[in-house]
Every structure is written in C-alpha cells, then in structure tokens.
C-alpha cells in the first residue's frame, strides 16, 4: 500500500476557503449595516412625522376651541402616539439610549405627548368623556431600578382599561416643556412618580395598589364594554354637531 497523499495540506485551498468565508461573513455585516442605515434614514421621516403630528394636535386643539367635540378623532392620534413610541424603542435598541439622534427624537415625542395630553384633557372635560390621565415619570435602570416593572404594570392597565391615557416621560430629559410640567405639579426629584389626573403619587405601586388607586378615578370598564362607551361618545358628538 502506498502512502496517503490526500492528507497533504494544500495552503491555497485553505486560503481560498478563508477568502470565501470572509466574503460571506462580510456580506452578512454589510447587509446588517445597510438595514441599520436604512432604519436611520427612516428616522428623518419619523422626525418629520413628529413635527407634523405636533402641528396636527395644535390644529385639532384650535378646532376644539371653536366647536367642542365635533369631528374629533382622538383614537387615531392615540394609536399613532403608541406606534411612534414603539418605533422609538426600536430606534433606542439599534442606536443606543445615549445616541444624540435618539435623544432628539425623544424630545420631539415628549412634546407631542404633552400636546396630546392637553388636548385630550380638554376634550374629556368638554365632551364629558370618562377618561383618566396618568403622567408617568421614569428614569434609567441605575437611578430607578423599579421603573421597568412600574412601566410594565402601567402597560398592563393601559391594555385593560381603554379610557386610561398614559404619558411616559424620562424625568432626566433636558426639555423646557418637561421642566414646566414638573414644576406645575411641584414634583420632588424622585422616580417612579405618577400624576393621576391632578394627584401626585411617589414610589413604586404594585398591580393591586395601583388598581385600588385607579378605582377612585376610573369607572372600571373592560375591553368588552368599550363598544358601549364608544357609541355613547359618538352619539354625544352627533348631538353637538
């Protein structure tokens, strides 16, 4: 039997394999990079949308002051607000929470939230819609370890009670409007903090604690009851038109 020549280490073969591997590996990186860049490009659109939305809220606010309750469709804007917040979360994951672009978008979003809150408060009052507002101040994990849990509990309540409107703000975001909001409610430097309608609640609130608090404000309506409530609002709007 002759010797085994198959074992011979052909250097060129291994270099060729390395070349192809780098090519595929590099393509994977490029593809991922391309997608990230595309996402960042979409951020400019998002920024433009946020500006338009702020204008839209202002316009609706003007309409409302002229003819209360007529032709107001707040659910579209509320849903959009929710979509933007989800997009922002995704952007935060991609770019990092400290990215300047992300922080800028966050500021726009916070302004939009404040505008929305102002409009909806007035609408609820004028049109007698049973609505409860929660302004939630959170901070990063290091400053406020319980904020993530509190946020999840609030999301749960938002899903459970359709007439609950929750606005979340980063307590430490450098924004004049936010500073004013904090000073209006004379907030202490503490997180998590919730302002429910006009009452301030400091510290973490468990599901049961928050439920007890909310009972004071909300006529607890389940998702099934939403239909009835919506038809009441519609008929009120038609009557006023």
């Amino acid at each position: 039997m002759e010797a085994n020549d198959d074992k011979k280490f052909k250097f060129s073969r291994y270099i060729a394999v390395l070349f192809f591997t780098l090519l595929i590996f590099g393509s994977g990186f490029l593809l991922s990079d391309y997608i990230t860049k595309k996402r960042i490009a979409q951020l400019n659109d998002l920024q433009q949308n946020l500006r338009t939305d702020i204008l839209s809220v202002e316009t609706q606010f003007s309409i409302l002051s002229q003819a209360p309750c007529s032709n107001l469709n707040e659910s579209t804007l509320t849903n959009e607000l929710y979509n933007i917040s989800q997009k922002l979360t995704s952007v935060g994951t991609s770019l990092g929470e400290d990215d300047s672009k992300f922080l800028e978008l966050k500021k726009y979003y916070s302004i939009l939230e404040i505008k929305h809150w102002l409009l909806l408060q007035k609408t609820a009052k004028e049109c007698k819609i049973p609505m409860t507002f929660i302004i939630y101040f959170f901070a990063d994990k290091k400053t406020c370890p319980q904020c993530e849990d509190q946020g999840y509990i609030l999301t749960y309540f938002r899903e459970k009670y359709p007439f609950l409107r929750i606005y979340s703000f980063d307590y430490n975001l450098e924004l004049a409007a936010l500073k004013t909001l904090k000073s209006v409610f004379r907030l202490k430097d503490e997180t998590p903090t919730m302002v429910i309608n006009n009452d301030v609640y400091y510290g973490y609130k468990s599901k049961d604690e928050l439920e007890t608090i909310l009972e004071k404000y909300v006529k607890l309506e389940t998702l099934e009851e939403k239909e009835t409530a919506t038809s009441t609002v519609t008929s009120t709007s038609s009557r006023l038109r």
Partner: protein, 411 residues
Amino acid sequence: MMISEIFIYIGTFAALYFGILIFVTLYENRHRLYNEKLPERLPFVSIILPCFNEEKNVEYVLTSLFGLDYPKEKLEIIAVDDGSRDNTLAKMLAFQQNYPGLKVLHKKNGGKHTALNLAIPQVKGEIIGTIDADCSVEPNGLKQMLKYFNEPNIAAVVSTIKVRQPKNILEGVQYAEFMVSAFVKKILSFLGGLTVTPGPLSLFRKQTFAIVGPYKKAHMTEDLEMALRLQSHNLKIACCWEASVYTKGKSTLKTLSHQRLRWQRGFLLNLKDYLNLLNFKTHGNLSFLLVYAVVGVFLSIALFGITIFQFAKTIATNVNHGLLIKFDFAPFLSFKNLNLTGLHLSPLTVMGLVGLVMVLVFMLLGKRFTFEKSHIGEKMFIWVFVYPFLNATWWILTTLSIISGKKIHWK
C-alpha cells in the same frame, strides 16, 4: 461588544469556514465522487459479526448478510458470540442449520475487540469486513464497497450509515443527523480526514491488520481507534456513498445519550493516545481537522452556555412580568400588540440564517448523493433545532466524565 457576542461571532465564523471547506473540497473532487468499475476479479470476502446479547437482532443481520449479491463461494460469514447471557448463540446455531455456510464461534465474554480478534486470524478472505448486529446491508452494498479497492493504496472502506425507518422524533433526529454525517464523511475522506471505521460495515484489506495489529479495547470505541491507528500509519480510508447500511436508531434519550457519551469520550481519549496525529507536517489536513474538532467541542459548549443563559433570562423576565400582573395576561392578547418593527436584524441573525441554510443544504446533499429515497420532512427542522443542544450537553457530560474518571459500559 460583550464576551458572549465575541464567542458567538467566533463560533459562527468557524462553522462557516468548515462549511465552505466542505463545499470547496466537494468541488475539487466532483469527478471522483463514485467508483464505477467493479474489480476484474471478485476477491474472497470474510465478514465478521461480533455479538453480545443480540438475540433480537442476530437473525435479521444474518439474513441480510446471506442476501448479499455476491458469489457464495467467495463469501464467508463468521458470527462470534462473545459470551452472551441470552439466546444469541442458540439463534446463531439455529440459523446455521438453514445456512451451513455460516461459521459460528463462541468465547467467554471479553468485549467486542476480543470477539473480532478471535475471528481475524481464522478468516479465509483477502478482504475482511466487520458489521454490528443491529444493522442490515443493501444487497448490492458489498460489491459497491469493493470497487474502492481498485485503488491499491486504499486500506479500508467505510459504508454510508443510515437510520432504519425512524419511528419516533428521537430516531428522526438521528436519521437527519446521519444524513448530514454521510455527506460530510465522504468529503472528509478526500482530505484524508476520516477518524472512524464504523462498526456498521467497514471493509479492510487483510494485510492491513498485519501492518497495524489487532483491535484494542480503546476506551470502548475500537472502531474509532482502528481508524486513528490506520491514519497514524498513513494508510488510506475511503468512504462509499453507494453502499447503504441501515442501523437501528436509539429510541430513548437515555440509550442515545449513553451511546454518544461513549463515542465522544472515546474520541477524546483515543486522540490523547494518538497525539502524533496533530503533527501538521506528517498528517496535514487530518491534523487541521482534528484541532478544528477539539476547538469546535469547546466552542459548542460555550455557545450552548450563552444560549441557555439568554433563554433563562427571557424566562425570568416573563415570569417577573407574570408576577407583576398576577399572571393576568388576558389584556395583552390582542392583534394590535403584534409588533414587528422591533425586530432587530443583527449581523448575528444574518450569520445564523446562513449557518442554518448550510446545514439544511448538507442534509439535502447527503440525501441526494447517497440515493436516499425516503422523505425527510419535519425531521429536518427538528434536527436543526434540537441537535446542537443535545450535542453540547453530551460534550459537557463527556468532559465531566473524563475529569471525574468515571467508567462507562457498553450498554
């Protein structure tokens, strides 16, 4: 970048490199995937069947051997009973009544290697085959394998092992695994990189044993040790896609795990005994592949640990969420909560998909090149997701058993 990410990138790169090496080698050897020509003169072949407590299988394998498409006057079948405590010997003798050509040997139990070593000096054949009792060979299998001995420098030929009619998910997983293995082994044979002459049918030139000596106990993986020994003598092992041997898949996780622990433990301990194979100058491709395999073991353990950690973290977050809302998830069950914008396509996801596609291609090529006709279907997907976890678990247990010095048994 986190340490876990670095490990994942290295692991993915290594896997991709191996995959491409396989494809490049396939391309280089595309004109010699099969051997067309039968030997001008059919050699005398002796097939040894070592058995220990195989009363359930022995008749089946013997029937398969006597059904081989090969001149009877040139075929010798030797069944060796290695001191079975069941009716294996009686079944062999009963079979012999109908097939007088069967030679039956009996000895005190001493392990598979002793059974093989008892028969080898007694064979009449120029070619010696070894087969396990839980196997069956396709009728044309032997002739197909003999084609490879046309090349004078081939010392041994190994068959393509497949799982016989998988009945449960675990057997299905092994079926798919063996399909990938069948494809990869052939390609490795072109690199002189085969490290096992498996029990389910391998053929050797008789003079091979004169050169390398008899079988050894070899940490209960005598077939692995024999291949490493052939390699250390620079003898060539070929792989035959045309000959399919069907083996019984392990039907329980316990028996499968036991088998794999034995194999993996045998690989590491035998490699320790043949460290000379890591000499690149003498063993080139084989050294590279062996180093790659050992590094691969530790990478797969690391990747397994990372995956488990991340999985546990997700579970912990969900449990925490559940506790926070007293497991009242009903409000979240709404289509509006289906959010796809959060999907983050990282380089890792892209690489993972590439790896997944590569494994599936290996499996499909294995099926095609070995002329497998049965349907793979869902087994393919179960294998891809289940196997890496099982394999890494076995490697962890193997490493622990070696460190602790724990002994393992055949069954």
